[in-house]
Subunit: 257 residues, 2 copies
C-alpha cells in the first residue's frame, strides 16, 4: 500500500495526447486514486491549454490539471525520474524490449516508489498511435494491460482515460492508508435458539395453512429445520421471519378476521 | 482466467446512465476485455438510442452496442442472473449490506462464471447518484473500487466508463487464453568471453585516449572489468560496444585520420 509521500513520487506523462477531454479524464483518474503529478508532452500546447480550461468546471480533475506541466519532449519530461515505465498495446509492430503484464510491473513500481526518493514515471502514448518505438526507448520497463484479442482484430487500443484509470487502480488496488472501513455486518447473528423457535413457528404455520396435510413428505421436522436454517443470518432477520409467521398463525386462527 | 463461454455469461448493467458517451465508453471497455452482454436500465430510452447511434462510428464499441438491450427496471434486467453484483462508492449514506473491495469480489465472480451455466450481473449506477439503496437491494454482493479519500472530500465518484474498465480489468487481470505471447528477450546473452574481450578493448581504448594517464585510479583492470559487466546484457549489445571501442582505437592510432 502506497502512502501519501510515495504516491506523490509517481508522475503520469501523457505523450502526444490530442483530445483535451482525454487529458482531463486522465487527471480525474489520478485524482480518484490519490496521484497528483501530471506532465503532458506536446509540440503544440493547444490541447493542454484546452484541458486546463475544461478542468476548471470539473472539480475532481481541477487540482491535478492546475499543477500539470507541459514539456516539449519525452527526455525533458522524464529528466528527474529514476524509473520510467512505458505502457503499450504492442499492436502489429516488432518490439525490441521485454513487455510485462501490468500485474507484474505494478509491484516493481510500488517497490521503487517505496524504496527511496526516486521518482517513477508512467508514460501513455497518443490516442492514435500509442507510444512509438522511439518514445518507448526512453523507458526502463514496458507494461501492457491484458486485452482480449479476437482473431480478426489487428489493432488494439484502449481509451486513454480508461488506460490511466486501470494502471493507477493496479497501483492502488490494495487500498489506502486511513481509508474508511468498509461496511460489514454489525448485526448480531441469529442464535441456535432463534433458529429453533423459527423451526417450530414454521412447522405450526405449515400445519395451520394446510401445507402439512397436502405435502407431508416436505414437512418433516428435519426438513423444516433445514429450511429454517436458511432464514435469517442475523437475529434481526430471524425476528422478522418469526413476526411474519406469527401473523400467519394469528390470521389462520381467525383472530385477525 | 475466464474462457470465452465464461466471459459470455457476464452481463454488465448500466442503471440510469444519462450520458450516451458514458454508455459508449462502457461498451468499449467491455469490447476491450472480451465481454459482450450489455443491458441498460432507463425509464426513457433516449440516452440508450443516442449511444447506439454514436457507437456506429466507434469500431470498438459497436458490436457490443448493437446487441445491447434496454430494460425498464433492475428486476427485469437481472431476472435471468444467478449472482448480482452492485458497484458503489458508498458516499455519505448508511449501508445496509456488506461491501467488499473489488479484488475480493472479483474471484467470487470468476468462480460463479466458471462454476456452471449461471449468469453473473455487474451493476453500475448513474453518473450522478450511483446505485441507490433500493437498486443495491437487488444485489447479492456489493463491491467498491478503492479510491483515495482526502479528509475534505465528501463526495467520491468515478467516471462511469473508467469504473467499468477497472472492474472488467480486475476480471481479466490474469490474461486471456490464446493471447499472443508478450515479447521477451530472444537475443543470446553475452558470454564471459564477450565480457572479457570488452574489458580488454575498454582498457586499450582508455589507454589510447589518455584517460588512463589522467585518471589512473579509475582505470585499474578490476574497475574496468566491473564497468564492462554493465555493458551489453546481450551478445549483440556487447558486439555493438566492441565495435565502437575498436573504432575509437582505430581513430586514435591515426588509421582513420
Amino acid at each position: 500500500m502506497l502512502n501519501g509521500a510515495e504516491r506523490a513520487r509517481l508522475t503520469v506523462v501523457l505523450v502526444g495526447a490530442r483530445n483535451p477531454s482525454n487529458i482531463g479524464a486522465a487527471a480525474r483518474a489520478m485524482h480518484d486514486f490519490g496521484f497528483s503529478d501530471l506532465r503532458v508532452v506536446n509540440e503544440y500546447g493547444a490541447s493542454f491549454e484546452a484541458a486546463q480550461l475544461e478542468a476548471k468546471s470539473a472539480v475532481a480533475a481541477s487540482t491535478v490539471m492546475e499543477n500539470a506541466r507541459l514539456f516539449a519532449s519525452v527526455a525533458e519530461a522524464v529528466a528527474d525520474c529514476h524509473v520510467v515505465v512505458g505502457t503499450t498495446a504492442i499492436g502489429e509492430r516488432e518490439m525490441r524490449q521485454v513487455v510485462e503484464p501490468l500485474r507484474v510491473t505494478a509491484p516493481k513500481m510500488t517497490a521503487a516508489l517505496q524504496g527511496g526518493d526516486g521518482r517513477v514515471a508512467l508514460l501513455f502514448g497518443s490516442e492514435k498511435t500509442g507510444l512509438t518505438n522511439e518514445q518507448l526507448s526512453h523507458c526502463n520497463l514496458l507494461t501492457t494491460i491484458p486485452m482480449y484479442q479476437p482473431e480478426c482484430a489487428r489493432h488494439l487500443s484502449m481509451n486513454l482515460g480508461q488506460s490511466v484509470a486501470v494502471c493507477l487502480y493496479e497501483l492502488a488496488r490494495e487500498g489506502f492508508e486511513g481509508a474508511r472501513a468498509l461496511p460489514v455486518k454489525h448485526e448480531a447473528a441469529a442464535t441456535g435458539e432463534d433458529r429453533e423457535r423459527l423451526t417450530q413457528l414454521l412447522l405450526d404455520a405449515m400445519h395451520a395453512v394446510g401445507y402439512t396435510r397436502r405435502y407431508p413428505q416436505n414437512a418433516s421436522e428435519t426438513l423444516v429445520r433445514q429450511l429454517a436454517q436458511q432464514l435469517g443470518g442475523s437475529h434481526r432477520e430471524a425476528m422478522t421471519w418469526m413476526g411474519f409467521l406469527r401473523q400467519v398463525l394469528w390470521r389462520e386462527r381467525g383472530e385477525g378476521k
